[in-house]
Assembly symmetry: C3
Homo-oligomer: 315 residues x 3
């Protein structure tokens, strides 16, 4: 593995999940590996878990960390090729990526979807340009269409908590008043389709995800039916892919409640966080022993550490 931009960079997913469980048991075993190695963490958007867990994972590995908030610590970056740069962006990614790549042994990048132009978002310009010009491994800290460090943490969490060989996993849309990216939902489907689970996706009409991510998962507009016998409920809001970036409904009947959790087979509730309580999910669900959201967030550290360790090993 030389980059970690999407699942296609992972040659052996099962080995990577096991690596996550292994570094979790022994976090400081590989500090020689990261000595005098530096990761640059470049944020085009806000972050809490990703920022802290990736920094922590790198430090566990003995690495140095340099963090930069684009447009705050530095100026905006132009991503388009061939443009006349007479507007607000003071530097081109061609230079920025190449220069950061000279100071860092690997670069983590967070850059959300703008949700205005679907073509543009799904082209994954920021990741693609950094990969093209940085000359060092790129780690996706959530991009326009994917959040693979989250998905790996989700796989680790399911591996830890599953009680059946092939659990039923349901991704359910939850209501939200703001348009959110599809990245977490896309990635979750993509990764679940590669491990040994039965994936069901449920959402209101108009919220169909891009087919390439959904794959052969069962899709239904009937949330309660979807929940029946489920082992894991994975809640998330996303804006419409077909009516791109729009909020088509905020229907509160899609909120996650204890009644719905009881439809499952003693199912666990998962969510990538942040979560808006009592809009997307009730307090009762989040505060119940069936909620895994904190364990799942804690696993972000081991997900990041497994990825950074694998990249370090291949440097």
């Amino acid at each position: 593995m030389t980059n970690f931009i999407s699942l296609s960079d992972v040659t052996d997913l099962n080995a990577l999940i096991q690596e996550g469980l292994s570094v979790k048991k022994n976090p400081f075993a590989d500090q020689a590996l990261g000595k005098n190695k530096t990761i640059g963490l470049i944020f085009f958007n806000s972050s809490l878990r990703t920022r802290l867990s990736t920094q922590k994972a790198a430090q566990n590995l003995g690495m140095n960390v340099m963090i930069m908030n684009v447009g705050q610590d530095s100026w905006g970056l132009e991503m388009e090729e061939g443009t006349v740069m007479n507007a607000d962006k003071a530097e081109h990614v061609k230079e920025a990526a190449a220069v950061i790549g000279r100071y860092c042994d690997m670069i983590g990048i967070r850059a959300f979807a703008e949700l205005k132009d679907r073509e543009k978002d799904y082209r994954e310009q920021v990741m693609t340009q950094f990969q093209k010009y940085a000359g060092v491994p790129i780690v996706n800290l959530e991009s326009a269409t994917r959040h693979p460090l989250q998905s790996l943490a989700d796989c680790i969490t399911i591996e830890e908590f599953k009680v059946k060989r092939r659990p039923k996993v349901v991704l359910t849309w939850l209501p939200h008043f703001k348009p959110l990216p599809q990245a977490v939902a896309n990635s979750f489907c993509e990764w679940m389709n590669r491990i040994d689970v039965d994936l069901v996706v449920t959402h209101p009409e108009g919220y169909e995800l891009a087919p390439a991510f959904v794959g052969n998962a069962c899709v239904t507009h009937n949330q309660e039916e979807a929940f029946e016998g489920a082992d894991f409920i994975y809640g998330k809001n996303w804006s419409s892919y077909t009516h791109y970036g729009q909020v088509l409904t905020q229907d509160p009947s899609w909120m996650m409640t204890m009644e719905k959790l009881q439809l499952t087979d003693n199912g666990k509730f998962m969510h990538c966080l942040p979560v808006r309580r009592n809009m997307k999910v009730t307090d009762e669900v989040l505060d119940s022993p069936q909620s895994l959201v904190i364990e799942q967030a804690a696993n972000r550290e081991w997900s990041a550490q497994a990825v950074l360790k694998t990249i370090l090993t291949n440097l």
Copy 2:
């Protein structure tokens, strides 16, 4: 000591002051203690001394430091329980604190008073909620009503510079055009009441501090009388506690001057900084050999280091 939120967390104040003086003499003696330990520093408000001195103290102890500005690096946090989160706060402290607590061995938090609702500020919601949900020790980097790392540095400074067994210490209100929190003044009273000094508090009418903090200190509206024979003058502005958060006067006759300093028994001038020159205190006082403000700020490093060391020892 498992938390450092207020003086009540300190079992042996004198030992803690001596620990501060001890780490000052030998800053790098305890680096094994902090190895592979991480402190998260979470800022809801701006900081200069607290940010740098706490980071430095942690590094002296061999710790890793992760810093996050809430609402800038990340998003706003909801503090109220049971609320429907359909407004500007994207994450609840229940999740944020618990997650940060999984990445960090201890958490430092700065969160000022809002000065709108006295009840609410004095409930110390941010500290209380983080303590409740983080699952790791919490260090107060200045909260709505207290600034104990400052007070410990003040105790260390008085211990270093006192020339009498029981010095006379005067806390005086100074004029300012903006409403400032009572935290430093509250904490200073609270801590002075626990060490061997005579505490006098002087301020204009209407600026009475909360009785629980003032304790048995002598309170007077006559600043010059208060200064007579004083060994330490501790200047600070605060907004009204009774007319909560209001600026009742900016009376320039309360400014600290050289003439007033000469009323003392060769008294030393202290201030927690930042200080607005020639509004609260004249240049002449701050630039005189009787000013301890830089020594006092320098002691913030040893105050923080004594606290972090003590918490590390008890982990």
Copy 3:
């Protein structure tokens, strides 16, 4: 060398350039030197290369790094002496510098020209005040009138790529729509005048730099003539020094193009970055093998490391 504020702090420039080339070959050889030493990096303005390369260089040397964005992490600093501080600046540099100097073994500072008052900018108040009050070595991370870490990286780059004993180096003004400081151009002239090159400066009328920096360099308004036989073209925009801070022209005929580069003796193109593509320089030039901009930016790490190492050695 105890400070690195301008070229006058450098006693042996050639030795410093050689030190840069030496740390480039062996970046991690001096980690004992920086152990338990801390550099504070204080930013009054945005930064990408300077922030990352100086942090990296310090970490290569085994140092700890503390970064603070003034006015964002902390509040604004008053620089004028004797003022009544009743406006927006909450702290005076007298206190801020002295306090940071107690937490740090050296301090790097970035503070751009305001381009309103030439006298004031050229007085270099921020650097001067920090030097006066910090009590520890100051490193200029780009000040109102100079950018010596950039100039040292430029010297290193020319040393690496020159093919003649005494190359011809041309500093050319390039068009830009915003008023930019003269710092990089000033510094470049100052440093080139101290190494073994023929310096030519070319710009439109009205863009004359301060004579003290230009020295005996040949100055011409004829850009094409200047380029003839050049070994290095150093492009940069700056606003007018005589009509202080003004943009007198954006004449696109001054843009750097491949045609102009072909007037040189197989000349290399240099620019300190960030650069606005197709306004100051065409894509073709920047993407050609004759462009050194990435090598030059990469040398910022070694420039900073040579300076920090020299200061550490003299602590």
